[in-house]
Amino acid sequence: MSRNFREIFRFELRQTFRSPLFWGTGLFFATMTFGAVTSDSVTIGGGIGNVQRNAPFVILQLLSVMSIIGVFVTTAFVAGAALRDFERGTHELFFSKPMAKLDYLGGRFAGSLVASTGVMVLCSLGILVGSFMPWLEAERIGPTLAGPYLFALAVLVIPNLLLTGALFFALASASRSWLVTYVGVVVFFAGFFVSTLMLGDVEHQTLGALLDPFGATAIDLATRYWTVADKNTALPPLSGLLLWNRLIWTGVGLAVLSLSFATFRTTAGAPTYGALGRLLRRRKKVAVEQGSAAEDAPALVVPPASRDFSSRRNRSLFFHALRRETVGVWKSIPFVVMIAFGMFNLAGSSVVRFERFGTKVYPVTALMLDNIQGSFVFLLVIIVTLYAGELVWRERALKVAEVTDALPGPSWVPLLSKIGALWIVILTFLTVGGLTAIGIQLSQGYTHVEPALYAEGLAIEGVRFLLAAVLAVFFQVLCNQKFVGYLAMILFLISQTVLASLNFDHRLYRFADTPSMTYSDMNGYGHYLQGFAWFNLYWACFALLLLVGAVLFWVRGSESVWRLRVREAKARFRGPWRALAAAGLVGWVAIGAWIFWNTNVLNAYVPTDEQEHRQADYEKQYRKKYKDLIAPRIVDAEANVDIFPDERRVEIAGRYVLKNKSNRPESEIHLQLDPRVKVRRLSLDPKWRTHFDQRLGYSIYELPVPLAPGATMELSFQLMVEERGFVNQNSDTSLVYNGTFFNNTQYFPVLAYDESRQLQDRNDRRKYGLPAAIRMAKLEDVNARRNNYVSGDADWIGFRATVSTSADQIALAPGYLQREWKVGNRRYFRYEMDRPILGFYSFLSARWAVKKDVWHPGKENVAIEIYYDPAHAYNVDRMIDSAKKSLDYFTVAFSPYQHRQVRILEFPRYASFAQSFPNTIPYSESIGFIADLRDPDDIDYVFYVTAHEVAHQWWAHQVIGGAVQGGTMLSESLAQYSALMVMQKEYGKEKMRRFLKYELDQYLQGRGGELIEEMPLMRVENQPYIHYRKGSLVFYALQDAIGEETVDRALSRYIAQVAYQEPPYTYTPDLMKILREVTPPAQQGLLTDLFEEITLYDMRATSATWTKRPDGKYLVKLTVDAKKIRANGRGVESPLALDDSIDVGVFGEKTATKEGKKQETVLYLAKHRLTQPTSMFELVVDGKPIEAGIDPLNKLVDRTSDDNRMKVTAAGT
């Protein structure tokens, strides 16, 4: 290293460490990582979750993400190093020195690279310091280790900085233009995002991991199935894809750098680049004097001009300035770059964002608006902050301020024109977002363009930025120092999240913070608009005060002493400004009072922590005493439910029949009601009330005459639920203008301790001194099986309901429609159920279109009815088809359908699930109705979800498990199996493979995120990744091993045995017993592996060759490794002796099927009993082999599923 290099390097470093850019961004980034570690409200690249806050995995993730975001800053360093001397005109001073070009470039680049690294080191410090903060729970903090930081810096951060630094240093020195460099950054990121999304699914992960220049995908892949224990302690091995990725991209970085050094020009000026260059470059011509000296010019008299200082003139002055300021921002490079970046980001994330199982969703406007919110508008935070400073300081930065400040014209003109310009810029940005979104819709063949909805949605999204713009300008004016102004704005932004994390939720003191708005095609913005409008009006009044403040303190001239500024402000505070301030203040206070009336008087204001506190108290006070209470049970329910959608009100008049099913007299009735429910009348005498807890809604009544065993009594009630005015947060989504949907546990009296009301989050529970986890009752707990896992106060009940709603809506409840009539402007519907159902029923009301069909007309005559939003007709026929085919399968394989009707009811996307009630299936508008099934290659999950829900009519509504471990297997896993079989019949095995690959991935990721204990399937404790995902895999493997018919027969027997059973309810051993009976002895071990244990496999093809035999056939020699592993609930693994029948297969070329789809030919596929860790097969096949392997169709749970097969090569080559 030469002395020159060292000197240049040292100088470059010194420059950086003195620059506000370095410290500003470094501290900002460090604050981000600090925030992410110390609070749940700051997340960087996904939340920390439940691993330790300073776990190696977290450190890796945070620094990885920061090194990617950081490119926007580090580019400024490297491009600065490349461009500074040419900009400042000092290049001639340098290049006239006796110094090698390499020393100069190397020193500059190395210096800027170290500076970039410095920013990342500050980020690391943010994490490190954050992990010592006293408010963090001790058990969420692991030991402080240097290793993870060093690993992250050495493996991720520095190679990433080297690569991007080299790229943009090269681009900057080749183009000599900041604009081109930053456009390059945007293009680079756009490419990065698009390729990440394209290669993001499980089918392209290897390529994706190699092509990701930042190595994040490789890290993700290496840690994808890590358990919490792994994340807390381990670092990914620097091998395999990760190592290759790092080598490739570091190599690329170095290559680009050398090329750039070699072609560096020491002369000033941009290269020409032909026509492209002419386009990119602004015309730069040096003004040349023409004509002669001034003496020769005629001493012209300046013509007289009238001057106008009227207030009307001031207004046009304002518009004149507004136009100039706005155009100035429009033309500025950072704005253009951010718009371009936002557009790419929006487009990229819209491509795959709404996929389920790789199947697209129609890009309906509501989703596009969500997407704009998620991946586009965040840039406005930067734009508002940045340009507030830029605009306020524009004249002073260019040193024109002394001229303009001394010009006549009122001081409010520049101020208001700057705020106005900022507003127009915000609106421009949003408009571009809207147009981009429309473009995306059109490009995906979706032509239902809704400009008015875009306008509304973007306006709603934009208001807070308009208000924030006023605040940002106010800060700049008041602070009167650009960076202090920025700092104030950043502190404000941070304070917003800090307030939230401290449960200061009320929007009366959270500037421009409005309730989040969800648009539903069914319900529009619904009742959300009201609160939104008032909160914004409230803050708009406050913004008016800020505005007046900014006018008063607007600095004109060079005076910055506070005493003098206050004097000036006082002098300016008169006339219209006084009036405006008074109007703002009055409006602010008055609207504030109105909001308070709505949020705290009409409605209860329950901050998040109070809500948690209540849940914790509920558990503390009642769980121990009453969880196992034996009380009279509901055997019949009848209700008159009057829904008033426009008023968001429901009147309930209900009658339960209670029966004492125990063998001793019962005198206590435990009645629980949501505190928001108003009781108008109750058949229980208030005098009997021995306990009344208004806050938690828990009362106990002591019957004067105990209810004898077997005796029944009536409990009737009149209730009213009303959503009045608007609330601060958690706006109710059950009672809405169009799409009301609630179930009995929400508003009806519940007569048993309700576990679903308990706090769920582990950390919240710990905070309130509760045991970290609520575990389900053990399988062996006979007592717990007195209840099914759906309702604790009823078994099978009779049900009838009269539901009414407004004239333009249909109201629905389980049961068959008996009668429909009208009274005044109300529509009434009478539904009656002809057989007992579970104590779980729902009420819905909306303006639906209805499509009707009949299954097996003339025979069972099951009516199929789809109630859907008229705009969402896309997949209604698929649903009908699926329902019919499900009925076809289930009625033959399992048992007859117990109802005469299947109804699917669309409800607004405030929730995104489908749920099966007796003959009634509410189905969210967001999950199936808008799926885009036009590509026949995609997985038809609408068909699948519908089949799953129909299957619940058997698995839940015929067979219901007790409230013990494994209960959800009996409904969810069996519904998964049933749906899979219907789908397999419809779409074939090839599709199943693809579908199951997603299930496998979800299962493995789910167990990675397990916090408590992974249970074997038959002991699943309501863990979705087990009862859905693993359930699919297990039952699919089971039918693969013992045959679909055998499984169906077993299930049919099971139904016959336990359907509609009274307590004690069935549990998984009942099913296992039957399965054991039907399974041949050789496969009994499989049942153990699948249901009773957690079993993982590691299959791998290690070599595969072919030789052609004289008879024209091919001999394939295949060597495979096979391992079987048992895991315990914490993810600790132990090897297991292998003795399994496993698929071995050889595959030939892809050929087109009848439908024109490519499918590989199966040359050989058979199960082989494997017992050794390594096996060799010699297989003779007819066609030319392409691939061969073990478990080639991925039926086993294998964490590296893509090494199961490999290419077959010719032997001896």
Partner: protein, 298 residues
């Protein structure tokens, strides 16, 4: 016309920029001479409504400047020291913008004014070029063009000739000289020739205090018979500086010519010379208070 009374200003860091400055400025060109840091720009900015004094008053043509900033701005033309431009805007666009801000509402009239000013400052030929490409002299001429929009009655130009080549400087001063005689023009400068060439009245500011004010001819006359000149060698210089009050030294054909101030003949073969404004200037920098009465009398 312009009357400055007891103006004082002390900055937060303790620098006393103006100390009880009082000055009467009649119509015509007025030269304000002073070294860097003398308080010239503070005084200029205060008159131009851009800064608040701690005490004192400024009145112009019936306007109380400190309390009637808006009124003053309507008759003001100001060319600040070291002002910037929007580098990517053309001269004509920028001048038009300033004209709008100066209240020239009528588009046709405004365009005529802009054209006339650009022609008068000899910038018409380059009106479409970006200001960022202008040379220093062109930029100053642009500066005076913007200051002259709207027929100002008070024109303040703060150190306009610093850094200009002689030709450009002449050109610029000629422009100033063309402004009508009924207008108050304050030319602040540290270049003595600017004042000598141009200003019928002048003042010298140093250390925030007014040192001299009056007509150049008159203040020069006050030093009549007190300026002595001698050509000395380099080694002798230090001795002369110790023994005499040397006002200035300049090189002439490799030797040093010094001017000293003395009320009587200092001997040593010094020869008496007629004082010029430069002598007055250097003398004022060394001697506070001289000529203050004259200033008040004016």
């Amino acid at each position: 016309m312009l009357s400055i009374r007891n103006l004082s200003k002390t900055y937060g860091n303790g620098v006393r920029a103006l100390v009880d400055v009082s000055l009467e400025v009649p119509a015509g060109m007025f030269g304000l001479l002073g070294p860097n840091g003398a308080g010239k720009s503070t005084l200029m900015r205060t008159i131009a409504t851009l800064q608040e004094p701690d005490s004192g008053s400024v009145r112009f043509d019936g306007i109380d400047v400190l309390n009637g900033k808006q009124a003053l701005r309507e008759v003001l033309g100001y060319l600040p020291q070291d002002f910037g431009v929007y580098p990517k805007v053309s001269a004509e666009t920028m001048l038009d913008h300033f004209a709008v801000l100066k209240g020239l509402a009528n588009g046709r009239e405004r365009r005529a004014v802009v054209k006339a000013l650009l022609e008068r400052t000899n910038l018409w030929a380059v009106k479409d070029q970006k200001l960022g490409t202008f040379s220093g002299g062109m930029r100053q001429r642009f500066g005076i063009a913007q200051a002259l929009i709207g027929e100002p009655k008070l024109v303040i130009v703060d150190e306009p000739t610093a850094g200009l080549d002689p030709e450009e400087r002449n050109r610029f001063l000629n422009l100033l000289a063309e402004i009508g005689e009924s207008v108050v023009i304050i030319l602040s400068t540290h270049i003595v020739e600017d004042v000598t060439d141009l200003c019928p009245r002048m003042a010298i500011l140093a250390g925030g205090e007014l040192r001299v004010a009056g007509e150049p001819r008159q203040v020069i006359a006050e030093l009549e018979g007190q300026i002595w000149q001698k050509t000395v060698t380099k080694p002798e210089l230090a001795r002369y500086e110790a023994e005499h009050e040397v006002l200035s030294r300049r090189l002439s054909a490799g030797r040093t010519v010094i001017h000293v101030w003395s009320e009587s003949d200092p001997g040593e073969e010094f020869e008496g010379v007629a004082p010029d404004l430069e002598d007055v200037y250097f003398h004022a920098l060394r001697h506070a208070g001289l000529g203050a009465e004259t200033a008040l009398a004016a």
